[in-house]
């Protein structure tokens, strides 16, 4: 369970990204964070895997205040979270396989197990024919799917996705969200930041609407 109490984030120059956020996401829940550009969706997601520190408030993840995590504990938190970044964060000059396998390699998983899991997820995301292709030779949509594959390959208990369908067509978007839904049914907590109203309407999940760094409805 994720609980946020009076969380604020102010960047240098007194730029307020989030103000007094209070929310609860239960384990196994599927939540959309919706809002226009600059509403604070990305910042909110980044706080949840400690890519950013909150300026005020508490973020409790499974009973632990992540603001108080020691530096050595942060990697353990991040291994529990699969993150799909808006800018993909892929190693451009490496192959699709290397990028997707990266998370598993960091965990020291056996190489044949890595191969099995990477193939499985690439197949689900229709990327198996691109396995040896370098990422910088893929289209935006393909790169986005590689980023999703990397986030899912570890079967994390929680997935945070920042605009995961921003570069793919409607059919592929539905494919990706069906995959998220399938994972959610097996108990994975999914939090998706999106401005895409069609997707939100299609899936009818809990929506947290942000505007200028504040929750305007939940």
């Amino acid at each position: 369970m994720i609980q946020l109490y009076h969380v604020s984030k102010t960047y240098e120059g007194n730029v307020k990204a989030l103000s007094d956020i209070n929310l609860t996401v239960n384990t196994g829940e599927f939540v959309f964070i919706n809002g226009a550009s600059g509403a604070g969706k990305t910042t909110l997601l980044r706080l949840l895997f400690k890519a950013e520190e909150c300026s005020n408030g508490q973020i409790i993840l499974d009973g632990k205040n992540i603001a108080k995590l020691k530096e050595s504990e942060v990697p353990h938190l991040r291994r529990q979270v699969g993150v799909v970044f808006q800018d993909f964060k892929l190693i451009q000059d490496k192959s699709v396989f290397v990028n997707v396998a990266f998370t598993l390699t960091v965990l020291g998983i056996k190489s044949f197990e890595i191969k099995r899991r990477v193939w499985e997820i690439l197949k689900k995301l229709s990327l198996y024919d691109k396995v040896d292709e370098k990422v910088n030779r893929l289209s935006g949509g393909e790169q986005q799917r590689v980023a999703i594959a990397r986030a899912l390959v570890n079967n994390p208990p929680m997935i945070l996705a920042d605009e995961p369908t921003g570069n793919v067509d409607w059919d592929l978007s539905l494919g990706i969200f069906n995959l998220f839904e399938e994972l959610n049914k097996s108990g994975t907590t999914i939090i998706v930041a999106t401005h895409d109203q069609h997707i939100i309407e299609q899936y009818k999940k809990k929506v947290i609407k942000l505007s200028r760094g504040r929750i305007v409805n939940e």
């Binding site: 991040r78 892929l90 190693i91 990266f102 020291g108 998983i109 990397r150």
Partner: protein, 301 residues
Amino acid sequence: MNKLYQILYIFKTLLTNIKENYSYFLLTTTTIILTIYMLGLFWLLFENIHSVIDRDHPQKNMSALIKSDVAADAIEKAIATVRKLDEVEEVRSVSKDRAREEFVVHTPQFKKLLRGLSINPFPASLDIVLAKPLERKALKELSRQIKNVGIFEEVMYEGVFLAKYMALIRTIEYVGFLFIAILFIAVIFVVSNTIKLTLYKRKNEIEIMYLVGASRPFIKIPLYIEGCIQSILGALVAIGFLFASYALIIMRLKSIFLFDLFHTSFSFLSFHKIVFLFFLALVIGITSTTLSVNRFLQISR
């Protein structure tokens, strides 16, 4: 088992890094080679100079060089005076021509050079054999007494030349070590910046490693191992070059008279000193890696 696969990954990453950034790897290793080579050469030189200066085994021979244009009877008188000294057992007069002949016998390679000279540059001298071997302090006192006789330009015995320039040698030594210390700091600066360049090249990859849950040691260990490999490789090559230089210098010295002048055998650096050079190379590698990695990881976290 997980650890084993992580170790395998670390070594795989290390090899990839070296392969992808081989120019930086070579630059860093070459810098370490040059530093260790210069330090080793300096150390080798001064260790051998000290082995000559500090050697104080008793000696039985001296040579008193006679000033030019001294009359024959004055020389005879001086020989008699020197013979009367308690420490002296035997005195043999060596004329200018005899000195030249003896030099040619000992160093035939200079025969042609001497033939070209219109004058004989060698002074007449007295070869003095002492009654019993004397140590450097007693030799110095005796040489002072002999010089007081009045016709002698210089009194020579083993080590007198180097002992005379001891202060100068010590100054050069201190300046040299100061220079090496400055060089050492400069090298750490250069090497750490070179490592930083390779890190900037991998900035994106390191950031992603963090974001997917890699621990700091997991990211840092390959970088440290790379630093250690560069250090050990640098020290190995530098010591190899050092030994080659040493062998070459000894070969050259043996072919000229200087080698006989010192009446000594030169030696290469001891095992302990070689180990110390390896240690210094590791200090350069590890300190530079620490400086660059800590600063860089602070930024890209």
